[in-house]
């Protein structure tokens, strides 16, 4: 079957179309530009990083939409815990 698909050009682009649409519609509906989330993300990093060791590169800020209820989801991974070096 998979060989068949390759021959006949089944590229399965539908799933990609659907997930890209979902992403873009969340921002369209909230009237929040994706770039705005980037700015919020940078500000959050500034505030937190002063006090906690965080994994800056993995901080994620997203809008999620579940059944019409929208949430700003912020995920801030902390830096791996290190055992305190004893005195």
């Amino acid at each position: 079957m998979s060989m068949f698909k390759q021959w006949f050009g089944g590229r399965k682009s539908a799933a990609e179309a659907k997930s890209r649409l979902k992403f873009v519609l969340i921002h369209d509906r909230a009237e929040i530009a994706p770039g705005m989330l980037e700015a919020i993300r940078d500000d959050i990093i500034d505030v937190i990083a002063d006090r906690l060791q965080i994994e800056r590169d993995r901080v994620a800020v997203n809008i999620e939409d579940e059944g019409g209820e929208r949430r700003l989801m912020v995920d801030i991974p902390l830096a791996p815990a290190r055992r305190r070096q004893g005195s």
Partner: protein
């Protein structure tokens, strides 16, 4: 009689609004409904040629609104169905010749004499869209199974829902190719329904007979037997309140795809 005003809209251009308006008008009229189709696309008159009535236009909607003719003179009777009329748009570049108030007043005047008033709106979400939306009791949003069209539909649905007036809004998915959906290379009806969370009133397949029928000025719904003609007549029945279940589209088997469609 008190007509239901149905506005056909989409946001994105070229997705099939005019084709849908013409065919639903014909399908409803063939089912005994008294129908008028209004071309709401000022400056870009098209409904007349799609329906094959282009050489019958003497007066248009703007002529009536501006008092140059009687309403009866602007209503073009399409004799291929018992009670089907077209109200053409003006070819003027002055888009303010129509506005939401004038369109609503025009529809209110037509309401007592018809079962359905179908308004074909222009592409976009500017004044022409607002003008065509104003009189609507219900809206049909035409969407192609394609990302930009679905996105624009979402925008339009949002705009319709932001108005004070409560309207039922349904989707018509146009130009679906069941074969490509089956190959997972095109958004499916279920995908679009999920993304837009709006009920679907019908699915019109990609159908070659649409182009040839438009070339001839004879909408497929006037007697075509192809898949699109069937889809339009089912949508017409749903608009009339009949409970017609959405049928899964026939994609045809592999051999059928190779050796041509019915």
């Amino acid at each position: 009689m008190q007509a239901t005003v149905i506005t056909i809209t989409s946001g994105k251009g070229g997705v099939g609004k005019t084709t849908t308006a013409a065919n639903l008008g014909c399908a409803l009229a063939l089912r005994g409904q008294k129908v008028v189709i209004i071309d709401g696309d000022i400056g870009l008159r098209n409904l007349d040629i799609v329906m094959g009535l282009e050489n019958r236009i003497v007066y248009d909607a703007v002529d009536y609104v501006e008092g140059r003719c009687k309403l009866k003179q602007a209503l073009i009777r399409d004799k291929r169905a018992p009670e089907l009329y077209l109200l053409a748009t003006a070819q003027t570049r002055d888009k303010t010749a129509m506005n939401p108030e004038k369109m609503s007043a025009l529809c209110d005047e037509l309401r007592p004499d018809f079962d359905f008033i179908i308004v074909d709106s222009p592409a976009g979400i500017e004044q022409g869209f607002e003008t065509c939306l104003a009189p609507a009791d219900r809206c049909l949003v035409v969407t192609n199974p394609e990302v930009s069209s679905v996105r624009d539909s979402d925008r339009v649905i949002g705009l319709i829902e932001s108005k004070e007036k409560d309207r039922t809004t349904h989707l018509i998915i146009n130009r679906l190719s069941a074969a490509r959906v089956k190959k997972q290379d095109m958004l499916s009806v279920e995908d679009i329904q999920e993304v837009l969370s709006t009920a679907i009133i019908g699915v019109v397949p990609e159908d070659e007979s649409i182009l040839s029928s438009t070339n001839k000025g004879v909408p497929v719904a006037l007697g075509g037997k192809g898949a699109a003609a069937v889809a339009y007549s089912e949508i017409a029945r749903r608009l009339m309140g009949e409970d017609v279940p959405l049928q899964p589209l026939q994609s045809g088997g592999f051999l059928q795809r190779l050796f041509g469609r019915s």
